[in-house]
């Protein structure tokens, strides 16, 4: 396998020296959905030294349309995504040390995983986890790369602690937004495009070609043929609580975390998001109906049911997920519908 990386070492900005750097680095990927499986495959093929990937979900039929590591057999076996990803990645490159973890990327877990990591590749499906990644990255001085996609649209931004603005400079708060892959759909090419941007930045960081790192925030829409680069020179906020002069890492503190509780004896999980700017219930009702849910409600709550899924959503964002005691599964359902 001596020629294995020859096409990469022939690329002058990597070369043999760059390949040695890549093979000595540890990349942490948060999420093994569409972006996670794609990012993990590119990093594994590129020959990164160690790859850690964490995910709380199982492979489902609706994942196969865009999640490149998984097969029909993984769906039939109801494999956790982390386990299915590990299985495929090992067949691709036995040089890479792969650590696959089944579980929730809570701030505590992220802090534990951050040790010795050279780069974090965001592949999560919600902003709460991203804001925690952003704080962990600042606290432990680890570069991370934001990536996201929905419908035919996507975006990416590279955060280098001490150099670039951070995600909290840009967003100030966890955005409430109605569109997720489960409500607005997603096409495979948009996933590939986000992966292309995230993994190009990853290789630059791994070979320490800091000048090549993209300083702008990229957004694209492949169906509408749009591509835009937003310059970020003035985005850094000196008072930012994540990367400013007096950081407090707000998204690592308990008050900013979603609270998940099993309601005793009721086979129901309660989910309470931290900052509630409120949910537009009539808007959500329309979206859920479009997805095939049977929806009932009043101005204070809505109740939605489809197959074995049943839940109640309150105007302040709180939800009761019925028919499960599994906290991670309940949170997963909530994030997929509300972002």
């Amino acid at each position: 396998m001596s020629t294995r990386y020859s096409r990469q070492t022939l690329f002058p900005p990597i070369g043999k020296e760059g390949q040695e750097k890549i093979s000595s680095k540890h990349v942490l990927i948060i999420g093994a959905g569409a972006l996670g499986s794609g990012n993990a495959e590119v990093m594994t093929r590129a020959g990164v030294g160690k790859l850690t990937i964490i995910d709380r979900d199982y492979v489902e039929a609706s994942n196969l349309q865009r999640q490149q590591l998984y097969t029909e057999q993984d769906v039939a076996d109801k494999l956790p995504k982390a386990a299915a990803a590990e299985k495929r990645l090992r067949t691709i490159n036995s040089d890479v040390e792969i650590v696959a973890l089944i579980g929730d990327a809570t701030p505590e877990k992220l802090a534990e995983l951050a040790e010795g990591v050279d780069l974090i590749l965001d592949s999560t499906d919600n902003f709460e986890t991203r804001m925690a990644i952003n704080d962990i990255a600042q606290k432990y001085k680890i570069p991370w790369i934001y990536g996201a996609c929905v419908a035919s649209f996507g975006m990416s931004f590279t955060v280098i602690p001490g150099v670039t603005p951070c995600l909290n400079c840009l967003l100030k708060t966890v955005p409430i937004q109605g569109l997720t892959c489960d409500t607005g759909g997603i096409i495979g090419p948009a996933v590939q495009m986000a992966i292309a941007h995230q993994t190009a930045e990853a290789l630059k960081i791994l070979v320490e070609d800091w000048e090549a790192v993209r300083a702008s925030f990229v957004s694209f829409d492949l169906w509408r043929n749009q591509y835009t680069s937003m310059k970020m020179g003035r985005a850094k906020d000196p008072g930012c609580l994540s990367c400013g002069e007096h950081p407090e890492y707000p998204y690592l503190s308990a008050e900013n975390m979603t609270k998940t509780t099993v309601l005793c004896g009721r086979d129901t999980v309660q989910i309470r998001p931290p900052h509630s700017e409120g949910v537009d219930l009539s808007d959500m009702a329309a979206r859920l109906k479009a997805l095939g849910y049977e929806v009932k409600g009043n101005p204070y709550l809505l109740s939605a049911e489809m197959d074995e899924n049943r839940f109640v959503l309150f105007q302040d964002g709180r939800a009761l997920i019925h028919g499960t005691k599994d906290l991670a599964q309940a949170k997963s359902i909530y994030n997929r519908l509300l972002g």
């Binding site: 996201a148 569109l179 835009t228």
Partner: protein
Amino acid sequence: MNKVLFFAHLRDEAGVESAEIEAAGKTVAQLKEIVAETYKLGKLDSAMAAINEEFAPNEEVIQEGDVIAFIPPVSGG
């Protein structure tokens, strides 16, 4: 006069790709309110704004001729 561009689902919700709006002298936050009302957009608070392809915070004052783009951060992955 100023040109305002909508990206991703904002474009679907607004029903147009771009609009001409008189926004000189207003802040980004004020423009967000006006645009949200005019085009019945629910969640413009969390959209990022760029003025002439450069990130602009809510307090930034818009100049005559500036092109403003609203880009909604998305969470899918």
